[in-house]
Symmetry: D2
Subunit: 165 residues, 4 copies
């Protein structure tokens, strides 16, 4: 099975600058995480960019879309900041119909000894291997369709959009 991982950044991959006390990006930790997790899934990893979810531009999203389109793999996992994950998923869903795409991320940087990044990577990798074509978001152990999910800004959890009757 051909499987691609595109790294886009997000809290998932942030580092702590001990001089300034600020968060920043160096290299992605996805390879290291998969190794420590003893994953034997064959994946091809590409870092498209290392950006904060709140600063992703429309141009950035076009780059993600372009790469998802042109890659030969039909199963794609994207690690992405959580704040605009749904927006990127929406663009991908509008233009790509024949691939299984799963976006995931984390609320706590992996380098802070967080647990949600590694757990989310495990669940996203599972979902992307078995789900039918479509664009999905894997967060908090669950999978959501791109058109029925939102991040609750108060709790930081992803949830379905409540439908009005």
């Amino acid at each position: 099975m051909a499987l691609k991982i595109f790294v886009v950044g997000g809290t998932f991959d942030k580092e702590y600058n001990l001089i300034t006390g600020e968060l920043y990006f160096e290299e992605t930790h996805v390879n290291e995480m998969l190794k420590l997790a003893r994953s034997t899934v064959r994946v091809d990893i590409r870092t498209l960019m290392m950006v904060d979810s709140t600063t992703i531009t429309d141009e950035d999203r076009e780059i993600i879309l372009h790469n998802c389109k042109k890659t030969s793999e039909d199963r794609i996992l994207i690690t992405h900041g959580t704040d605009t994950m749904v927006k990127t998923a929406t663009l991908l869903a509008e233009h790509i119909k024949n691939k299984t795409i799963v976006l995931t991320g984390a609320m706590i940087p992996y380098t802070f000894g967080s647990s949600d990044g590694l757990f989310n990577l495990g669940s996203a990798l599972a979902f992307v291997q078995v789900l039918a074509p479509g664009v999905h978001i894997a967060m908090n152990g669950r999978v959501f369709s791109w058109d029925n999910v939102q991040k609750n800004r108060k709790t930081g959890f992803f949830e379905e959009i409540e439908k009005e009757l």
Copy 2:
């Protein structure tokens, strides 16, 4: 969706006894792991036993089978030692046809700061939510059918059984 987690023990849940230098069991860490992972999947967790995979008896396996049968949930995740995981999966597969059962475990105790336990829990929880009825093993980021998997004793990785032509 109704989802059950049965805890059977295994390396996953082992502790280090700092007086004797030996590994042993206390309580399961599954609840704590799901909380740290920020999982919002609704699960009902029951500890059936806390045993080393190499010491599981046929009676123990009957207890696991009995509980899988009688529980009302039709999606069941089992944390189990890796050495006899396939043997337990085989018994379950012979007697249960209408439920989705996923067994998982770890090569390194969660309390040792391992990465494979949390990652495997994430992937197993994903697989059990979406796979069709049947008995599966989720290890190393992959999912295997109970009748085509073995643990490689030298490497500790799970792999398909090589079929002779």
Copy 3:
């Protein structure tokens, strides 16, 4: 031996707010750290304040001085932010001559799985038990006298002040 620990905050005790991505204070981790470290040193711990080193005021420093004076213990360990640690040490040294006071801190929060906080706590606790009366700073495994130490803002390491000839 009577030993007091005064908690003043600093990076040592910072937490990560996963909703805002900012660092903040909750309770101190000193008790928990000493327990995990299996310390059997008898200490009495008091949290004076939980403040960022850069925001400590002269009034705050007076509170620290007042508490160091009035406490019955003659050996005092202070966990303090690194940026103004020397300034606080200077005030204490000017007013207290008959007690052994050791200030320490960390460059990475303990909750980020840092190593310097726990290591510094171990070395500071050692120094405060055996050094003669005076005010000292314990950082980077070393001990410095209050009047011959500065934090190098570029590297984050503490070092002696270079004396001109």
Copy 4:
């Protein structure tokens, strides 16, 4: 200040073999620990042996003694298994009078995410820099003279030998 670290093994440096479930030795972690701890103490580290404290022989102890004698540094830190730490300290005390020697160790391997190893290293490094010549044991945040300390086998804590009146 000239400071030597001799590595002798012990729980401090043990690894977990995920295939056999047993503990074993690879390389020491002392260098890595000092780096993560941001220590700037100048040390020269030598691994004399990597052995379990219970299997140390009289010949092994002679090697430790020989190296402590011949090294030019007069301040020596030894990482050693806890079970026979006092026995080695006794031999060293009988033959070396003019050097400051501090032995330390851990109850939980550093690779298990333990806290006592790093904390003990911090306190031992502090004690060895400031104590007068003699042989000392640094465990549980405290320092003991070689001739008034024992490991409590039930609790794993080091304590003074109770003197009879």
